[in-house]
Each structure stands twice: as structure tokens, then as C-alpha cells.
């Protein structure tokens, strides 16, 4: 198996009811890459996946796989295999027939199918489950059957549509590692759709952050997390504190932003000019108790103990500010209702053009 690269050039997708799910997009996914598309539900990531797999044709632009234009070829004619969110295993067939289904469709003899299915089941550590039906397997086993079934057709590109979302946490974490291992072993290009940033960050070579049909940022996990390109990317990937304001002065690399909480210095990757409406983002783990280059005052309102970590929430100027720290006993002095000084370094904060933010958990719960 050898992966192929996938290129979207100027692809936009508008549904018959007039809704544009994907704005014109250019994207290149390298051969053998584990690429994730991360975004909230309804952002158009599944639509992109279906366009690559051939279930929908882009309204504009081209999908190229291995340099070949895929226009006009249906899902059965593309070198892709799709793993569905609900897996879509065939419940009436035994596991091995599920795995061998793609070979059956290619006219491979029954004996050869059986052997190949067995090989693939060994690969996903299900060699002894070939005769069972999917209903008799556990969630994780079904997951692996779906992967084996998709790999059976030797796809150059494997498309995964939130395949882990139905699993419980422990299993999900285990399956992340397993997926990554399978991807390394096979060398197939993986395009992985998820709304779970943890999945995207742990597994992917590169991540595309997507919102409202637009890809906001493409980069490695580190880049996306540490150097978000847009306000949405900063707020969607990981937790963050943000302060709105206006750029006061911009020196090379660094800028000073005036906010309701005071004046802060932070990195300025977008070279925002003085006077521009901007937002400052600082991760909770970049904040610390006590003074630093940037400082703000807050009052402790909540203290969540997560064993090795401690999450503190402060009220600062009518806004909630989160601070994460390792549980080393330093926070024991802070008690609820007490005014405290918080600080962060300019290097660990970033100013970005003001823009749409991802919904917080509180907002989503209210919807």
C-alpha cells in the first residue's frame, strides 16, 4: 500500500438548497500524511470528506488524488476508502465477509478473500474473531473491523469521519495510538475528520482548523496550538483567555495592545499595525500567580482540582480568566474571594485580528 497526495484546488461546495458548505478552498495533503480536519459540527469538514470520497461533486474546482482529476468518478472508482462515523459495518455478514467485501466487489475468489481478510484481521489484532457477526463484538473491536474493511481495498487515501466519537474515553485514547500505528505501518494517507482537538493534536502530522466552510489555518499541532493564525483557531484549539482591545504600538515581532484590563505586550505574528482592532490570547497554562511582564488583577472564584493539575478561575474586570498550573502546593495560599495578581510573559501571548470566536462550552450548553 502506498499513499497518494490529495489536492483540492479552488473547491467550493454549494448544496441544492443554496447553502454553501465549503467556501473556495485550496488544500494540499501530502502522500502518507496523517492529516486532520478539525472544526465544530456544521463547519463543512464532512462535506470536504465526501467530496474527496466521491459522494458529492464539488460545485467548483477540482479534487486531485495522486495528481489525477477525480471529476466524474464515483466513490467506487476512487482510490479512497471511507470509515463512517457509525462505522456502517454490515450487520448480517460475519466479520471476515465485512472485511472482504471490497475484494468481493472486485471479483476476488472466495478463498483468496478469506485469506486476505484473515491477514488484515491479524493486523488489527482480531484474527480469532473472523466468524462472529459485528453485533457480537465490542465497540473497539468493531472500530478495528471497520479499519480492516477499509484497508482491504488497498486505498491510497483513507478517510475517517469521526470514527472514535462513539467510544468511551479510555478506549478512544487507546484507539488513537492504534490508528496512528496502523497509519505508520501501511503508509496510507489518512484524512481524519474530528471536532475533538485532543484527537487531532495527538495523532496528526498536520491539522486544518475549519470554521463556517473556511479553512482558517493549516499547520502542525504545535503550530496550531502555539501560533494560532486566527482568533477562531486560537479559541477553538485548546483553552484560552482572550482580551479585546486595540493595537497601540507595533514594534517588530511584538505589539502593545490596550484592553479594558490594561496594557499588555504580546507577540504580533500578523504584523498588525497600530490602531487595528485586535484580540489578545493567552493560554491558561501561560498565566501564573504573581507578577510578570504583563500583569492583571483578579479575584479567585472557583478552584477545580484535577489531581496533578489545578484549574483556577478568576473574575477579572467582568470576565472569567482561567489559569492552569501543576499541583505543586503553591496555590494553597490563594483562597476564594481573595484579590490576586496574575501575570504572563509577552512571548507566551499573541495578538490576532479581532474575529469570530469558537463557542465556549457554556454557550454550547445554552444552545
Amino acid at each position: 500500500m502506498r499513499g497518494k497526495d490529495v489536492r483540492l484546488s479552488g473547491v467550493s461546495i454549494t448544496y441544492p438548497n443554496g447553502f454553501t458548505a465549503v467556501q473556495p478552498t485550496d488544500l494540499h495533503i501530502g502522500a502518507g500524511e496523517f492529516f486532520s480536519i478539525l472544526g465544530p459540527s456544521g463547519c463543512g469538514k464532512t462535506t470536504i470528506l465526501r467530496a474527496v470520497s466521491g459522494f458529492i461533486e464539488p460545485s467548483r474546482g477540482q479534487v486531485l488524488i495522486g495528481g489525477e482529476d477525480m471529476a466524474g468518478s464515483g466513490p467506487n472508482a476512487r482510490p479512497t476508502a471511507l470509515i463512517f462515523q457509525n462505522l456502517a459495518l454490515f450487520p448480517l455478514m460475519p466479520v471476515w465477509e465485512n472485511v472482504a467485501f471490497g475484494l468481493e466487489a472486485r471479483g476476488v475468489s472466495r478463498r483468496a478473500r478469506r485469506d486476505r481478510a484473515q491477514e488484515l484481521l491479524e493486523l488489527v489484532a482480531l484474527g480469532d474473531q473472523a466468524g462472529k457477526t459485528p453485533g457480537e463484538l465490542s465497540g473497539g473491536q468493531r472500530q478495528r473491523v471497520a479499519i480492516a474493511r477499509a484497508l482491504a481495498v488497498e486505498p491510497a487515501v483513507l478517510l475517517l469521519d469521526e470514527p472514535l466519537s462513539a467510544l468511551d474515553l479510555k478506549l478512544r485514547q487507546h484507539m488513537r495510538a492504534e490508528l496512528r500505528a496502523i497509519q505508520r505501518k501501511t503508509g496510507v494517507t489518512f484524512i481524519y475528520i474530528t471536532h475533538d482537538q485532543g484527537e487531532a493534536l495527538t495523532m496528526s502530522d498536520r491539522i486544518a482548523v475549519m470554521n463556517a466552510g473556511v479553512i482558517e489555518q493549516v499547520g502542525t499541532g504545535d503550530e496550531v496550538y502555539s501560533d494560532p493564525a486566527t482568533a477562531f483557531a486560537a479559541s477553538f484549539v485548546g483553552e484560552t483567555n482572550h482580551f479585546e482591545g486595540r493595537i497601540e504600538s507595533a514594534a517588530p515581532g511584538l505589539a502593545t495592545i490596550a484592553t479594558a484590563h490594561g496594557r499588555f505586550r504580546a507577540r504580533n505574528p500578523g504584523a498588525l499595525a497600530a490602531g487595528a482592532a485586535a484580540m489578545l490570547f493567552v493560554r491558561p497554562e501561560a498565566l501564573r500567580l504573581g507578577a510578570a511582564e504583563n500583569r492583571l488583577a483578579g479575584r479567585l472564584t472557583r478552584r477545580d482540582l484535577e489531581g496533578p493539575f489545578l484549574n483556577l478561575f478568576f473574575q477579572a474586570g467582568g470576565q472569567e480568566v482561567a489559569l492552569h498550573m501543576t499541583n505543586d502546593g503553591r496555590a494553597s495560599g490563594v483562597t476564594a474571594g481573595e484579590d490576586t495578581e496574575l501575570g504572563f510573559d509577552a512571548e507566551q501571548a499573541v495578538v490576532l485580528p479581532a474575529g469570530e470566536l469558537a463557542h465556549t462550552g457554556k454557550e454550547m450548553a445554552a444552545q
Binding site: 467506487n76 463512517f84 456502517a88 459495518l89 455478514m93 471490497g102 466487489a105 482491504a152 481495498v153
Partner: protein, 486 residues
């Protein structure tokens, strides 16, 4: 049981069990048991006692007719020449000749009417030599101790006088009226005594017999002229019947097992109609359930339902106007210049067939639709994505999933088609061979031979049961799959 009790409480649980028991008893066991009992009992009028009773009745009626006749003669008014109308009670046992099918068509079923054909000797050339003292009176003609008893196929003929040692007596029409009346009175007396005696004996004898079922397989002689016979023998259907043992020749006469022929013909039609319904309904169900966005499927769904909001009979009658000689189809065809003579559609078995399919198609489409709509469309997409052709998607994904629905729809449609009564009756208007359901009806109500009707009906139930069982076996449909349908 415990779950039911905690879930529904004692009252509802009791009600539930009662309802189930009542359902099984009233809908399944009792009707079939009564049907079986009736089928195993000899028809009352086939009993020797009934023959004796009929004879006694005939003889008495003869006397009273002669009484009434004697009075006008005494007044010198002469004969009105009228034939006595047989009283309704005067049903005679059909003689063997009445069983013969007069029609050349093998599909026709003997009317087997209980009316005795008056023997020609009463008024025909046989009587010319003698001077009859009175006009022909049916009951007097029948009032003879040499009455034939009902015996099954293969048994020897038997007569009342020889079987029970009665003197051979008849009412001679040339004797003086008074002598005739005396003879008739004697016959009536003998018959009445015999009747009472026989009734007692029959009551203590085992009443059950398989004789009624024998009627179903009985072969009837088909009168054919040599020319007709050559034509008939050449027909494929007749040759097939010959191969199946439904038609044979003995002593130069052609025999057909009419009952079995009607039965197998009806079943064949029902199977074909079911097959056609399935072929029509599967794509329809697929289209509505899986190949249409849900918001548009509603309209298709309504399109399917609305025709069935019309009473079945009305729909069938509507078809009669379509297939009439001056009906829609013939009108269109002749307007298009394709035909000169109207097609006799009501004589064509194909018409009955088509209307049956039309009438019962809904019972096929809904079970299939219901099951199909529960299929996860992702499975179809997954199969497509793995490279399966549309055919393979149907064969491997959709049909296996829809199997319980297909089985339920097929069984329902088959049973409805096999038991169809109004459609063949209204469409063919007696111009075609009967469906077996009509034969059963005729046995029950038109020949007043409900015991034979019951035997037919019970056999039919069994045959259909076996067919359904075979079908389910062929479909590998386990009974528990049916629970998935709803």
C-alpha cells in the same frame, strides 16, 4: 412473566394473557377445528338415511299431487299439462350422470347441482307404448325403492331396495290413479320405517370419513368429440396436466381431476401474481425508502396510499369499465387503429391476474418499505465506497436487510391472491374458469354441500400452509426475523 407483572400490574397482565388465549382460540384453533370436523363428516344428504327420508318425502308429495290432480279430472276439466314443480325439499341425490361435465373446457367445474335431471323415460319415447293415466309428476317418478345410494369414487353402485332388502316398487304412470296412490303410500311407509331405523344406526356409527376429501381428487369424464379431443390433446396446458396426473384416458374416455386442476391453477396464478407484485414493489419501496430525500418521499408515500383509500370493490368495478368491450383499453386501441374487433379482455385470465396484482400490491409494498426504511443509508454508501456495483449493493446489503419485509409481503400477497374471490368473480363474470375460492363458495352455498366445501377449504388451507412454509424455508427466514418488521 415477572417483568409483565411489574411493568403492567396484575389486571393488565391478566388481560394480556386472556387476549392472547382468546386470539389463539377464536382466530386460529376453533375455526380450523370446526372446519376439519365438518370436512370429516359425510354430507348429511349423502347418508343412506337421507336417501330413505327423501324417498318417503317424494312418495308423500306424489300422493298429494295425485290427490290434487284427481280432483280436476273428476270435474272433467282435463289436464293443464303442467309439470309439478319440485318442492324445495325434494332434492334428489345427484345421479352419476349429473357429475359428468357437459362443457368441453377442462377449466370448467361441474355445477354439481343437486337437482335431479328428470329421467327421460317418464315422458319420452319410453312411455309412448303405454297410455299414461296422468301427466308427468317428478316426485312420482322419483318415488321408487330402486333409488340410488351415494357411494364414493370406486365403490360399486348401490340401491335402496337391494341394499336394505326392500321390494322393488315404483309408481307406474299408466296404472289407475288410485292404484298409483296406493303404491306411493306403500313406498312412503317402507321408506319412513327404513329412515328411522337407519338414522338410529348411523347415530351410533363412527361419523367420520375421508370421503369428502375424495371429491377433491375425483376424476370426471370429459365428453369430447374425436375432433375436439385432438385439439385439446395438443394443448400445452393439457399435456402438462397429463404429466402431472391431472388428466388421463381410460376406456377411450378422457378424465380430468377438476378439483385438483382448479386448485393447482389457482395456486400457480397466485404465485405468479405474488412474483409480479414483488418485482413491482421492490423498486418502488427502494425508491421511496432509500433513494429519495425524506421530505420528498412523503409525496411518493401519499401517492401509494391514496388509491387504497378507495374501497376494494369499487376499485375492482372500476377495472370492469376499463376492460369492457367498449371500455377504455379497447376504445384507445381502436381509436389508434390497432384493432378492429374489441379484445375480449374479460375472457382472458391475464386480466384477472393483472387486477389481482393491482388489488393486493399494497400488501407487498408496505412491509418492504417499512423494513427498508430502517436500513442505515451509510451501509449503502459504505458498500458503494468499497467498490460494489449497484447490483451487488442490492444483493448483499439491501435485500438481506429487507428479507423479513419481503417475506411478510410475499406471504400476505400470496394468501390474498390465493383466496381472492371478488376479483375473479367480478372481472371474469363467469366467462372464465373458476378460482379455487369460487369453487369452495359454490360447494358451500350453491350445491349445499358444505361438508365437501369444508374439505376443500381445509385442504386449501393446508396446501397454502405448506407453500408458505416452503417459501420461508427457501428464504431462510427464521420466525424471529418477523419481529423485526415493525
Amino acid at each position: 412473566m415477572r417483568g409483565l407483572l411489574t411493568g403492567y400490574g396484575r389486571g393488565l397482565t391478566l388481560f394480556f394473557f386472556l387476549a392472547v388465549a382468546l386470539w389463539g382460540l377464536v382466530l386460529i384453533i376453533l375455526p380450523q377445528l370446526t372446519m376439519l370436523e365438518r370436512a370429516l363428516t359425510a354430507p348429511k344428504r349423502a347418508l343412506d338415511s337421507s336417501v330413505a327420508a327423501a324417498l318417503a318425502r317424494d312418495a308423500r308429495t306424489c300422493i298429494s299431487v295425485l290427490d290434487a290432480y284427481a280432483a280436476p279430472v273428476a270435474q272433467g276439466q282435463g289436464s293443464s299439462g303442467g309439470m309439478a314443480v319440485p318442492s324445495a325439499s325434494g332434492m334428489a341425490v345427484p345421479s352419476a350422470s349429473a357429475m359428468a361435465v357437459p362443457s368441453a373446457s377442462a377449466m370448467a367445474v361441474p355445477s354439481a347441482s343437486g337437482m335431479a335431471v328428470p329421467s327421460l323415460s317418464g315422458m319420452g319415447p319410453g312411455g309412448e307404448g303405454r297410455k299414461a293415466a296422468r301427466p308427468y309428476v317428478l316426485q312420482c317418478d322419483r318415488a321408487t325403492t330402486h333409488s340410488q345410494l351415494v357411494r364414493g369414487e370406486g365403490e360399486d353402485q348401490a340401491f335402496l331396495d337391494t341394499a336394505y332388502g326392500l321390494p322393488l316398487l315404483a309408481v307406474p304412470d299408466s296404472a289407475p290413479i288410485a292404484a298409483q296412490k296406493r303404491t306411493a303410500a306403500e313406498i312412503a311407509e317402507l321408506a319412513q320405517v327404513l329412515y328411522l331405523d337407519l338414522r338410529e344406526r348411523e347415530a351410533s356409527a363412527n361419523p367420520y370419513t375421508l370421503g369428502n376429501f375424495g371429491w377433491l381428487v375425483a376424476a370426471r369424464a370429459i365428453p369430447l368429440s374425436p375432433g375436439q379431443k385432438v385439439i385439446e390433446d395438443a394443448k400445452l396446458s393439457k399435456r402438462l396436466m397429463g404429466l402431472a396426473g391431472l388428466r388421463f384416458e381410460r376406456d377411450g374416455e378422457t378424465y380430468e381431476r377438476i378439483g385438483l386442476i382448479t386448485l393447482s391453477r389457482t395456486l400457480l396464478f397466485a404465485v405468479m401474481a405474488t412474483g409480479l407484485a414483488l418485482i413491482l414493489c421492490y423498486p418502488m419501496a427502494y425508491k421511496v425508502a432509500l433513494a429519495t430525500p425524506p421530505e420528498r418521499a412523503l409525496w411518493l408515500f401519499l401517492g401509494l396510499v391514496i388509491p387504497y383509500a378507495i374501497v376494494e370493490l369499487m376499485r375492482v368495478y372500476a377495472w370492469t369499465t376499463i376492460i369492457d368491450s367498449q371500455g377504455l383499453i379497447n376504445g384507445l386501441l381502436s381509436w389508434a387503429g390497432l384493432i378492429d374487433e374489441p379484445l375480449q379482455l374479460k375472457r382472458s385470465p391475464a386480466t384477472v391476474f393483472v387486477v389481482i396484482v393491482y388489488t393486493y400490491v399494497l400488501f407487498m409494498v408496505f412491509p418492504i418499505y417499512n423494513v427498508m426504511s430502517t436500513l442505515d443509508r451509510n451501509q449503502i454508501e459504505a458498500a458503494r465506497d468499497l467498490g460494489a456495483s449497484p447490483w451487488r449493493v442490492h444483493a448483499r446489503i439491501i435485500i438481506p436487510h429487507a428479507k423479513p419485509g419481503i417475506a411478510v409481503g410475499t406471504i400476505a400477497t400470496f394468501m390474498l391472491a390465493a383466496g381472492a374471490f371478488s376479483v375473479p368473480r367480478i372481472i371474469s363474470r363467469g366467462l372464465q374458469a373458476e378460482w379455487f375460492s369460487q369453487t369452495i363458495y359454490n360447494k358451500f352455498f350453491e350445491s349445499e354441500n358444505s361438508n365437501v366445501g369444508a374439505a376443500y377449504s381445509f385442504s386449501y388451507t393446508l396446501v397454502c400452509f405448506v407453500i408458505v412454509g416452503l417459501f420461508m424455508w427457501a428464504m431462510r427466514t427464521r420466525l424471529r426475523d418477523f419481529a423485526r418488521v415493525q
